[in-house]
């Protein structure tokens, strides 16, 4: 498995990440980075399932949306503080992940994909139709900004640091998990489930664990999203979000720690950069083509291919 980067490299990276808001020409650029950060959390959550456990979930937008709606509703309707809402969002998303994990016990491969897709479909329909709870297609505006211990993350700069903190935390948790015996158990399930069982790896238990953690992380991203954009609507369940996540993970490098983060940054920054040149539809078309090309030519993703290239020299 990959070794953690040298301390000097790490320090330089942190310094640049912390200093970035002061070096950008406009708040719009910071907005793009914030969204990249939120997607980085999402991509990492999907990677836990797709990259490490080997299960493709096409319903991840559902966990994201559940987190977003939970956090928003608790703040708007009951006046819960952000911290409590954030935790609740994670717990609720993780809970639905547990449901999927337990329901899908015997399902692998395509069947798992279908169950996750169906789940997302049902959740999406509920969000649209249960007007009294979710306000339907009109969505929930006016969500208060995140705040901790009295400090409200109103400015973009503050939001950036909050998202950076959570993204870094997510990365740390994923790194610790992946390098542990539980991480090895997940990889074993991906590689050879029968062999894994023969040495005592409990497939159902770890599958449920992976879905719970993965969904919880996605819920965290959802909560951040809700309190940053201050508006949540059933559009969070749009399939294009799931697609974007999948492309980020697969093209970035599934089964690696850095790959999804790199993928998230590339596929958030690039579309914005190209916004002048091409419309959103062209982008999505490009994503589809890119996904296919990646699978043909860079099947392991950008980061592993770069690493392999460096190793060979």
């Amino acid at each position: 498995m990959a070794r953690p980067p040298r301390p000097a490299v790490r320090a330089a990276l942190w310094l640049s990440l912390l200093a970035v808001p002061y070096g950008l020409p406009s708040p719009y650029h910071l907005h793009v980075l914030i969204m990249a950060g939120i997607f980085a959390i999402l991509a990492q959550s999907l990677n836990l399932l797709l990259g490490y456990t080997g299960l493709l979930s096409l319903g991840h937008a559902a966990f994201f949306g559940i987190g977003a709606y939970a956090s928003a509703l608790l703040a708007l309707r009951i006046g819960w503080p952000f911290a409590a809402g954030f935790v609740a969002a994670v717990v609720l998303a993780a809970g639905s992940g547990y449901l999927i994990g337990r329901l899908a016990i015997r399902l692998r491969g395509a069947y798992f994909v279908l169950v996750t897709l169906s789940f997302a479909g049902v959740v999406s329909l509920v969000a649209v139709n249960w007007m009294s709870l979710t306000n339907g297609p009109l969505g929930l505006p006016g969500i208060p900004p995140a705040e901790l211990l009295g400090f409200a993350f109103v400015t973009k700069r503050a939001a950036y640091y909050l998202v950076l903190g959570v993204a870094a935390g997510a990365y740390l948790l994923c790194a610790r998990l992946v390098r542990s015996r539980i991480g090895r158990a997940l990889l074993a399930l991906r590689e050879n489930e029968a062999l894994a069982a023969s040495v005592g790896v409990d497939g159902t238990r770890y599958l449920a664990l992976a879905t719970v953690l993965s969904a919880g992380l996605a819920g965290a991203a959802g909560s951040l999203y809700a309190h940053y954009t201050r508006f949540v609507s059933p559009e969070v369940f749009l399939f294009s979000y799931t697609v974007t996540m999948v492309v980020m993970v697969v093209a970035g490098g599934k089964g690696t720690l850095v790959g999804p983060v790199v993928g998230a940054v590339i596929f958030t920054v690039l579309p914005e950069a190209l916004r002048e040149l091409a419309s959103w539809q062209w982008q999505m078309l490009l994503y589809g083509v890119l996904l296919i090309l990646t699978l043909f030519f860079l099947p392991r993703g950008i980061v592993p291919s770069l690493a392999a290239g460096r190793e060979r020299r």
Binding site: L172, L177, S180, R181, I182, A194, L195, A197, S198
Partner: protein
């Protein structure tokens, strides 16, 4: 502890792979399960270790009843098996393969792992040492950084053995461990099997190489057509007319 198999029957779509076999494997021995192709040997392994649900019969290990348990639970009770077709974690390194095999030997909880607790680091160091010891035992220590898929066939078989050993079995079921090995490699594997037995692990072996079987086993069980047709010490079994008929009757091997 003895492994007791009583009236085990397994059927696939109406065809009886095992028609009611009964045998015992005594602790501290090397026992071999032999028989012509299709006799039901691998099926017996699959049933004992929970990969296949038997039609009837009981499997017991000491006081524990194994019938109906899942493979991972059976492994937790100290019974580990290898597979007929080479089974390794292809994309993981040799070291990671063995570390994965050590899964049951670790106790770190999710909370401790996510929290970055020191006990996790201590345990990881211990597991790494144990993995190195196992790799040294099977002779793969210098391959530790290679991906399992890059190993030669014989080396992969050794890796399989290492992974199974890592799980800390009290009873080890080896499914054709010498299949596809060169003469020198077979010698090494035979030596390993004896070393494993000497460390207190009971070994149940399925093999086609008769010289290996007769040379290493204390006890031999012969299956044919889903039934036990003979059992006893190697010399007695070799001389048994029923066994000779079973093998010759299948045509020249």
């Amino acid at each position: 502890m003895s492994l007791v198999v009583r009236d085990l029957a397994v059927s696939f779509g109406g065809v009886a792979a095992l028609a009611g076999v009964t045998f015992r494997v005594e602790p501290g021995t090397i026992t071999s399960l032999i028989g012509p192709n299709g006799a039901g040997k691998t099926t017996a392994f699959d049933a004992i270790t929970g990969y296949v649900r038997p039609l009837r019969g009981e499997i017991g290990y000491g006081d524990a009843v194994l019938t109906g348990l899942r493979p991972c639970d059976i492994a937790a009770r100290g019974i580990v098996r290898t597979f007929q077709r080479t089974s390794v974690f292809a994309r993981l390194t040799v070291l990671d393969n063995v570390l994965t095999g050590l899964h049951l030997r670790g106790t770190s909880t999710l909370a401790a792992i996510l929290g970055g607790s020191r006990t996790v680091r201590v345990e990881e160091a211990r597991l790494a040492r144990e993995a190195e010891a196992i790799l040294a035992l099977v002779g793969l220590a210098d391959r530790r950084g290679r991906r399992a898929a890059e190993l030669a066939g014989g080396e992969q078989r050794l890796l399989e053995l290492a992974i199974a050993l890592a799980a800390g079995p009290r009873l080890l079921l080896l499914d054709e461990p010498a299949a596809g090995l060169t003469a020198a490699e077979k010698l090494a594997v035979t030596g390993l099997i004896r070393t494993i037995r000497d460390r207190g692990v009971t070994v149940l072996l399925v093999e086609h190489d008769m010289r290996l079987v007769m040379g290493v086993s204390q006890h031999v069980i012969v299956l044919n057509g889903g039934l036990v047709i003979a059992e006893g010490p190697p010399a007695a079994v070799q001389a048994s007319p029923a066994v000779i008929r079973a093998y010759l009757g299948q045509g020249a091997r």
